[in-house]
Symmetry: C2
Subunit: 205 residues, 2 copies
């Protein structure tokens, strides 16, 4: 099952339009090949055979196009996380899978699609909406795991759920956030495992 993160991105003009799809497709290819910065809007226009001005009928800005592509990436990451969690057993297992999958999927993106990863870094360091939405969805998934663990008695119930969710997410930041992750690579996978252990200990009833 694929996530369709309704892009509240800065688009304009008709939402369903073959030209919009062409733009996105061209952007996906060009960004992945040449990188976000080195790809110009004129490049995209040439690629799809329309004028640059026409592209701006569909996207408010180049960043909006970047956000669309970045959205696809984080959708992929989120889907992997959700799937891994779905295959987990108890809440403890799910939490382990959650943490491990988000990190490994992000690292894999870094190594297989460096150029796309750069967009994610861009987006994260400039706080693009698409990243905010991604982290919110991740936290939603985390909260589900926590709720389940609380119901089954695996996790403690005293700490407010919100606080637990946030603090765990903060603790995982060095392994989830693309900007931080690049700097944490040399610590992987041990550091991630050990922090997961710490988090699970903190959840003990």
């Amino acid at each position: 099952m694929k996530t369709q993160s309704k892009g509240i991105a800065a688009t304009r003009g008709p939402a369903e339009h073959s030209v919009r799809d062409q733009i996105v497709k061209a952007a996906r290819e060009c960004f992945a090949h040449y990188g976000y910065d080195k790809t110009t809007v004129s490049d995209l226009a040439r690629e799809i055979g329309f004028s640059k001005a026409y592209i701006y009928r569909f996207f408010e800005s180049k960043q909006a196009i970047g956000a669309a592509i970045c959205g696809e990436c984080v959708d992929g990451l989120f889907d992997q996380a959700r799937e891994a969690v779905g295959q987990g057993g108890d809440a403890t297992d799910k939490l382990r899978r959650f943490a491990r999958t988000v990190t490994t999927a992000t690292v894999e993106l870094l190594f297989t699609d460096r150029k796309l990863y750069e967009i994610a870094v861009h987006a994260s360091s400039e706080n693009w909406e698409v990243v905010r939405a991604y982290t919110e969805r991740l936290q939603g998934l985390l909260e589900e795991i926590l709720k389940e663990g609380r119901e089954t008695g695996e996790f403690e119930r005293k700490t407010p759920l919100d606080e637990t969710r946030r603090s765990i997410f903060y603790a995982f930041k060095p392994f989830f956030d693309p900007v931080f992750l690049e700097r944490s690579l040399d610590l992987l996978p041990d550091a991630q495992t050990e922090v997961t252990g710490l988090v699970l200990r903190s959840l003990a009833p």
Copy 2:
């Protein structure tokens, strides 16, 4: 009590020498005023009235001078941390003080001496020896707190001490590491407090 972090930094020539002190003093002032990058070695030479070549009798490189200054900064941070911990009551209190002090002291450096903070960022992102030593000393302090907590029965004793120390340090990274901290500013101080809470929960016996 001040820390004298024996600089294994890339110095050369006599360790005790008035000229070395003059260089460091000039560097401290110039770096703080104009920044590390904009300060040239010739500037320092002019400042102390000697030739540039002479400076290289005492320091292997400009970076070594930067490391010396950076070392002073992190010594200051460490001293604050140690002092705060010393004033703490039980291990729980000490851990809270430890986390809070390191962060607030680093943030204060960021705001009061932006230019010096830049050196710290430089040093951290390029993994200078001086930063490695700093984090090791911080972890040493943390380990002492953990040991005390384990002895008094405040903290659990099952998890290997090394792992506990490391995982806690990882969790605090976004609030300790100057590179990360800049990106975590908008989360302060709540995130820090909540992560500390998580860490303490993980330490519950």
